[in-house]
Amino acid sequence: MMKLRAVRFGFSALALAALVFVLPATAADKIDPVADAKAFKKFFYDKFPKLKPEDFVNGPYSMDEGLHRQWVEKEQFPPYEFAVEAGKEMFTKPFKNGKTYEDCFPNKGIGIRQNYPYFDEKQGKVVTLELALNQCREGNGEAPYSYVRDEMASLTAYMAFTSRGKPFDIKIPNDPRALAAYEQGKEYFYTRRGQLNFSCATCHVQSPGERVRTEVLAPALGIMNAMPIYRSEWSGMGTTSRRFVTCNSQVRGVPFNPQDDEYRNVEYYLSYVANGLPISGPGARP
């Protein structure tokens, strides 16, 4: 009798173990942004224990003392002042139909950057700040701006400036398309590409704080918070789109068109996992 019970007991234990084993396996395929974000932040907080969470939004300047001093000097009178002022001027200059960007955005576009990108359930896709600005222009009969040139850079610089200090507040609605976009963004972030065979993570997860020649790599956590960035390298304000496109070419991967799905989704992923960290854009960068 004893043996039978033992067998039965053994059997149920086995079944239980199998179940438990099965659960995490399916859990891994289940898209869980909340868990991802927690793990993502933990990885960087453990990797850089001396940094406070908000330090991550200053990218390379929180990684290297020499760079930090040069940044502090620049911030006294930052070169992006002109872009912010140009953006402010453009923001309130009426379109031909008399409307302005203020009519397209909640709260007249002031202090809302931290909510972008968002998942637009009507369009069924992720809408970034840059896309929303061009959709506003086209909706008012104006030609869209290039995503990589000064006009878009100035507008986003001004909108980011009005959100400085506000924590990222990216939402993923309970809509399978939103979850899919988020997951595709995550996959893009970790996928190796180009002849150099790097993914975004190769530089920004495996080796933040280290140098690529003279440039110190920024951690992925908080990397969107400073956008758009005034890079000394470009001696001008650069949009998020420009950053993605140039990063692709640097690893010898052919870039997509700015604001293609992959770019909007990876921005969605990177912004979401940085929820809670303050907006620091427009940021000055090397």
């Binding site: 006294q76 009178f77 070169p79 002042e81 002109f82 002022e85 001027e89 001696s235």
Partner: protein
């Protein structure tokens, strides 16, 4: 057109600290554009700061000064509310000037 000169002048009793950021390409004449042609030299040559009719600082610049140039200096004297006259001229003869209130 808004002035190309941004000035911050603050007085703390006996010294007035001045910072200026100027919108200018400061092309050195040694850089090629994407089509491989040399971008001609175009940079601010002289920048002057005057307080109470007297020069308090004069900069002679070459093409090696950064784009959207920045400079910081200080001079003894100056009072809150007084004006500081700032003006520049570049190698093409273009000029701009502004007056800033000492804060």
């Amino acid at each position: 057109m808004a002035s190309t000169i941004r000035v911050r002048a603050t007085n703390n009793g006996d010294i007035t600290e001045v910072q200026a950021l100027i919108q200018h390409p400061m092309d050195s004449g040694f850089v090629k554009d994407s089509k491989g042609e040399i971008i001609p030299a175009h940079f601010i040559q002289q920048l002057t700061f005057e307080y109470d009719g007297k020069p308090v600082f004069l900069a002679d610049w070459g093409g090696g000064v950064s784009k959207d140039p920045y400079v910081k200096f200080a001079f003894k004297g100056g009072k809150k509310g007084d004006e500081l006259k700032v003006s520049w001229v570049d190698n093409k003869g273009a000029t701009d000037s502004t007056t800033a209130k000492i804060g």
